[in-house]
């Protein structure tokens, strides 16, 4: 799995790492139980401070995407708790996306169709894995 880091982005680097690992788990590029690199090794590979990677891992652990223990290091969680809906942050993010889509002239149907297609794409990618 390839992760892309944009130094000049408004999104902090730890958040970029976190988001891409979540996307990797979601589309099957990272399998449940799969080992993640150590904080130090990943920081050296990306060329960033290990505190930044550590923060991303802390966040992932807090949100239940990964588990860590001293012997095995960080791993993708084996199972994920079913959520009742979107989190508060993601709901806010979706609101922002809807606003931008509206301003760009998209209709409700077009927006929902775009969402449906993206969702289906990920489903089919998972099936292929």
């Amino acid at each position: 799995m390839v992760i892309a880091i944009r130094d000049g982005s408004e999104i902090p680097i730890y958040q970029q790492i976190r988001d891409q690992i979540v996307m990797g788990i979601s589309d099957g590029r990272l399998q449940p139980g799969e080992a993640l690199p150590t904080v130090r090794a990943l920081a050296a590979e990306i060329g960033i401070n290990s505190m930044t990677v550590n923060k991303a891992y802390q966040l992932l652990k807090l949100q239940g995407y990964i588990v860590t223990d001293r012997r095995n290091g960080a791993r993708v969680a084996s199972s994920f708790e079913a959520a009742e809906g979107l989190s508060k942050e993601n709901r806010e993010l979706l609101k922002r996306l809807i606003s931008e889509a509206k301003l760009a002239g998209m209709t409700q149907e077009e927006f929902l169709e775009e969402c449906r297609l993206l969702y289906q794409n990920q489903e089919s990618e998972n099936a292929q894995e």
Binding site: V2, A4, I5, G24, L30, P37, L42, E45, G47, I48
Partner: protein, 471 residues
């Protein structure tokens, strides 16, 4: 003349090989494998890309023509050099020719780079640093390693053992003088190991969205480099052991041993380097179709002349080289700065060394008596021997055959510690072209000396004789 022939054999073919290697760097078929043309990325937009590649092809024809001109302008110089009798001037011209030739070979490449860069500046909108992404392979982070310490342990241990046993075993200064050479070669074996280790830790290059492609490419590439450094380490070990066995033995001709060993060693390493270059090119070709163009960020502005990498944002000290194969240093990192400084010192030391050689050869030696002290002066005061200590003073017309342990041995100057063939060590300060020399013993050390000319030697001998007789 002998030195001329040695230089000719050692350096002339190397320059021809470098010419063909440099030439291959500027050929379109090789540049396509990496997608980098004269140190620049081709634009991603189709129309611009086609125009850029057409211009690169035009530049290729010019590049090849300019390369031929560079060769024509320089290939004859070593032949003229064969006629020059002075060792230091000869050496200076060889060094300047070698460095100048290497620099000159870069000119056609830089000309093509300049034209393409100007075109790119005019036609392509550069993606700002903020919008650019850097890619990292998440799988097997820090695990794609090919260098295992155990592989290098044997050559390192053998080299070290040869150096230690030689240093401890050599009792006379004649053999001892070569200890430094053998220790130096033993250290080079360790350096090869460290270089292998350093290159092995290079980041996995992301060339595709498929992790297997990235990892297999990195593994294959690191494997080639590991094999190359391991081969170098073994060659160096063989040379170290060979020198330890042969040098210091009176029946072995030192000069020929070092010369033949050195030439063979250089040729074998050069062949290994060319072989690795070929293998890495084949690997690039194999993975060309699997490369995802979008994953290669256009960071041309961080590459000075498409060759030197300077990027403060990038913490990696080593990145994939743009010209040719291998790696390039990031000069913005502390390691890059240190390596750059060392390279600058190495290059600057060449003219300084040449100047020193010229001064050594052309400064006449001076032998005089000052306040009952025999003073031998060349670039500095080399010997100060109280006349009272001198015994067994003799004037000789036939100098014994001797070879240098340490110091200078030129056509017009012998200076330093020498070894008399089938004899003992001695201190020497003389012009070997003279007919008269003085020899004496002072504080259990045997000396051979002369003034710049015979007349001076004879006058000094008479003065010395008088003083010694009066004591």
């Amino acid at each position: 003349m002998l030195l001329d022939i040695i230089f000719f054999i050692c350096m002339y073919p190397v320059n021809f090989i470098l010419y063909f290697v440099y030439k291959s760097f500027g050929k379109m078929e090789n540049m396509r494998k990496k997608g980098i043309y004269y140190g620049l990325h081709a634009p991603k937009e189709e129309e611009l890309r086609e125009a850029f590649l057409a211009l690169a092809e035009e530049q290729e024809a010019l590049f090849l023509r300019r390369m031929r001109w560079c060769l024509l302008a320089t290939f004859w110089i070593p032949f003229v050099n064969l006629l020059i009798p002075s060792v230091s001037i000869d050496f200076t011209i060889w060094m300047l020719w070698f460095v100048g030739f290497l620099g000159l070979l870069m000119v056609p490449y830089l000309c093509a780079h300049k034209v393409l860069r100007a075109w790119k500046r005019e036609h392509v909108v550069v993606v700002s640093e903020e919008q650019r992404s850097s890619y990292t392979e998440l799988h097997e982070v820090g695990k794609v390693r090919r260098v295992r310490p155990v592989l290098f342990l044997i050559p390192v241990a053998v080299s070290a053992a040869a150096a230690v046993s030689y240093t401890i075993g050599s009792r006379d200064s004649y053999a001892g003088a070569f200890s430094y050479l053998i220790i130096l070669f033993a250290i080079i074996t360790i350096l090869f190991y460290l270089l292998a280790l350093w290159m092995d830790q290079q980041k996995v290059l992301v060339i595709s969205e498929d992790s297997n492609v990235n990892l297999n490419f990195a593994r294959a590439k690191k494997n080639h480099w590991k094999n190359f450094w391991l081969f170098c380490a073994w060659c160096n070990t063989l040379l170290t052991v060979g020198f330890a066995l042969l040098l210091g033995k009176t029946e072995v001709a030192v000069g020929s041993t070092v010369l033949v060993g050195g030439i063979l060693y250089t040729m074998v390493l050069l062949a290994a380097a060319l072989c690795t270059l070929k293998k890495l090119r084949a690997l690039e070709e194999e993975y060309r179709e699997k490369r995802t163009e979008e994953l290669t960020p256009d960071d041309d502005e961080h590459w000075l002349w498409g060759i030197i990498y300077y990027n403060k944002q990038d913490k990696h000290s080593m990145v994939e080289a743009r010209v040719g194969i291998g790696t390039a240093m990031n000069l913005a990192t502390p390691i890059g700065k240190i390596m750059n400084l060392l390279a600058a010192v190495a290059i600057l030391s060449i003219p300084i060394f040449c100047l020193w050689m010229i001064l050594e050869e052309f400064t006449p030696i001076q032998l005089m008596i000052e306040d009952k002290v025999l003073v031998a002066e060349h670039l500095d005061k080399d010997y100060e021997i109280p006349v009272g200590d001198i015994t067994e003073l003799e004037l000789i017309t036939e100098r014994p055959k001797m070879s240098k342990n340490s110091g200078t041995a030129m056509d017009t100057l012998y200076k330093g510690n020498f070894h008399i063939t089938y004899g003992s060590d001695c201190e020497v300060f003389l012009n070997p072209q003279n007919d008269y020399f003085i020899t004496f013993v002072a504080e259990d050390t045997l000396y051979y000396m002369s003034a710049a000319e015979d007349a001076g030697t004879l006058t000094l001998y008479e003065s010395l004789q008088k003083i010694v007789e009066n004591q």
